[in-house]
């Protein structure tokens, strides 16, 4: 038989294992699988030395262009990561630990998650947070399920200005539930309030909105919570956490549940992951919250300690009573979020947010000067905004990519008729020089 270079077992070991389960050959082991369904080759090269493998992987990695001037956001943002984040989260105590199923053994991890929960509660202005979720999009879907449990209703109304990616995850989650999902088409890049009023009825469990929204607009949602509550529904807000440095928190807006993606808090873009989702809620909804929650207690000697609490509905304990079909808590990424928030502090977050807003305002003003470029001006923006171009945005983005600039997120793939719309994002990492280069490159691309 053919022993692969990638297989660590010796022929003797393989024989031993086969004998233990009572078959004579690997062929016999796989006999129940029809030959035509078996993999004839794994298409792997012959074995290489460690050095050769490393060189090969480095060459593949080098094909990734990591020196782009990045103006793409759309839910994931290129923010500065303080050195403390890498250093502390890289400590072996945190880096190698799996999620704490045995609380008594994991006091350090549990304390970190407890502090993470505290940070998320302060950031969102809400009472309780779990120890993190898989990502922001699944957080939004979990919030919808939470609201359905809390209200005993089945209709979920989502603003079409919520991230299209998150809405797709939401739709997938609800497709096999006894649920009705209503999407409100955006009105000039904002929530369509007349349509919302029509959808608020005795079966509406939740109203889901996002700020800043996918077009970059920061809509004034004051009064929205009262409107939802009057119909017996909950208000769920998806938020961009860095923006909360200067915007009203979900709690101040009267939201019942807040969710978001934590990538922008100390986690690298890393080609799309991993990240973490956060979810926070009013205390009255804690029983309906998915995932694990870390609590503070005292041991028998009266010393402060931490435990996994309120986990009776966790999947590993009571599957059919579980409040979530994922219990992926992203401990390490959430820890990075905590260290990020602790490192920059309350004032630092506000300063960072202002810097983002100011740089984006500069870019917005410069881009608006270009002939044929129109800025969508229906609401104030934070660090991203939508412009319309005299050409398809995909074409322009491709042209600028050749110049080392990732100009933004074209909206055409998400909204019909928006082929010329581009969402441009400016974080604190973009220098004035880079913004000026973007403007110049765009001007050239639009002339050609």
């Amino acid at each position: 038989m053919n022993t692969s270079h990638y297989c660590p077992h010796t022929p003797e070991e393989i024989q031993e294992m086969l004998a233990a389960i009572g078959v004579s050959s690997v062929e016999e082991l796989f006999a129940p699988i029809p030959v035509e369904l078996r993999c004839s080759t794994f298409n792997l090269p012959a074995g290489m030395s460690e050095f050769e493998t490393y060189a090969k992987l480095q060459a593949v990695a080098a094909d990734n262009n990591q020196n782009l001037s990045l103006f793409i956001g759309g839910g994931f943002y290129d923010h500065v990561i303080p050195a403390a984040v890498d250093h502390l989260s890289g400590r072996a105590e945190f880096y190698t630990a799996y999620t704490p199923y045995q609380p008594e053994c994991s006091q350090g991890t549990l304390q970190a998650l407890f502090e993470y929960q505290t940070a998320i509660c302060r950031l969102t202005g809400l009472d309780v947070s779990n120890a993190s979720l898989y990502d922001g999009a699944t957080g939004l879907a979990e919030a919808a399920l939470m609201a359905m449990r809390a209200t005993n209703r089945t209709k979920v109304v989502v603003d079409g200005c919520v991230s299209p990616i998150a809405r797709q995850v939401l739709a997938t989650y609800l497709s096999n539930q006894d649920a009705e999902l209503v999407e409100l088409p955006p009105l000039d890049g904002l929530l369509n309030r007349d349509e919302l009023a029509k959808q608020l009825d005795g079966n509406t469990a939740a109203v889901l909105v996002q700020y800043p929204n996918v077009f970059g607009g920061v809509e004034d949602f004051s009064g929205l919570a009262d409107q939802a509550h009057a119909a017996g529904a909950l208000l769920v807000t998806a938020v961009y956490p860095v923006a909360l440095g200067i915007l009203k928190s979900p709690g101040e807006l009267g939201a019942d549940i807040a969710v978001g993606d934590g990538q922008s808090l100390g986690n690298p873009l890393s080609f799309g992951g991993p990240s973490f989702g956060f979810i926070a809620a009013k205390k009255s909804h804690i029983r309906n919250m998915p995932g694990r929650i870390v609590g503070e207690t005292v041991d028998k000697n009266g010393k402060r300690g931490f435990v996994l609490t309120l986990q009776a509905r966790e999947q590993h304990i009571k599957r059919h009573k579980a409040t979530s079909n994922i219990c992926s808590n992203q401990s390490l990424c959430a820890l990075r979020g905590l260290i990020f928030l602790a490192a920059i502090g309350k004032q630092g977050l506000a300063d960072l947010a202002r810097l983002n807003r100011d740089k984006a305002e500069y870019a917005k003003a410069r881009l608006a000067e270009l002939p044929g470029v129109v800025v969508l001006q229906t609401a104030p923006t934070f660090n991203e905004f939508t412009i319309s171009l005299p050409k398809p945005a995909e074409t322009v983005v491709a042209a600028l990519l050749d110049k080392g600039i990732a100009a933004g997120l074209p909206l055409g793939r998400f909204y019909a008729g928006s082929e010329n719309m581009l969402v441009v994002t400016v974080t604190e990492k973009r220098s004035k020089k880079e913004i000026d280069q973007l403007v110049k490159a765009l001007e050239v691309a639009l002339c050609n």
Binding site: N152, R287, L310, Q311, A312, R313, I317, K318, K321
Partner: protein, 124 residues
């Protein structure tokens, strides 16, 4: 004078006229350990005998509570919302959970008397 009956799933029901007040047995409360939450049904909900009526959470698990008899929920013990520990303290008295409007008195014949339940516990 009301009579008390028990199920094999450790619920009790006290029937007086058409009123059937239910809870879980002292034995069940003891076995579950520290009870942290009782999820009660909505008033007006109609339940069938042996169907899930409520749920109870202890420190480490969530368990279903089954309806000992069929009927409509007319009252729930909302004091348990804030004081679930009452179930540990007084499972068969103060910590009643649900009052049903008894639908079919004949269903009581499927249940155990207190003496029968005590014998049943010895077999577990």
């Amino acid at each position: 004078m009301s009579e008390i009956y028990f199920t094999k799933e450790h619920e009790w029901v006290k029937v007086s006229g058409s009123s059937a007040v239910c809870g879980i047995s002292d034995h069940a409360a003891h076995e579950l350990g520290d009870i942290t939450f009782v999820e009660l049904p909505a008033i007006g909900k109609v339940v069938k005998q042996e169907e899930v009526m409520a749920a109870i959470e202890s420190v480490k698990a969530a368990s279903d509570i089954y309806a000992p008899v069929s009927g409509k929920v007319v009252k729930v013990n909302s004091e348990l919302d804030d004081a679930p520990e009452k179930v540990n303290e007084s499972a068969e008295e103060e910590a009643w959970m649900v009052e049903l409007e008894l639908a079919d008195a004949a269903e009581l014949s499927k249940l155990m008397t207190k003496a029968q339940y005590e014998d049943y516990l010895k077999t577990l």
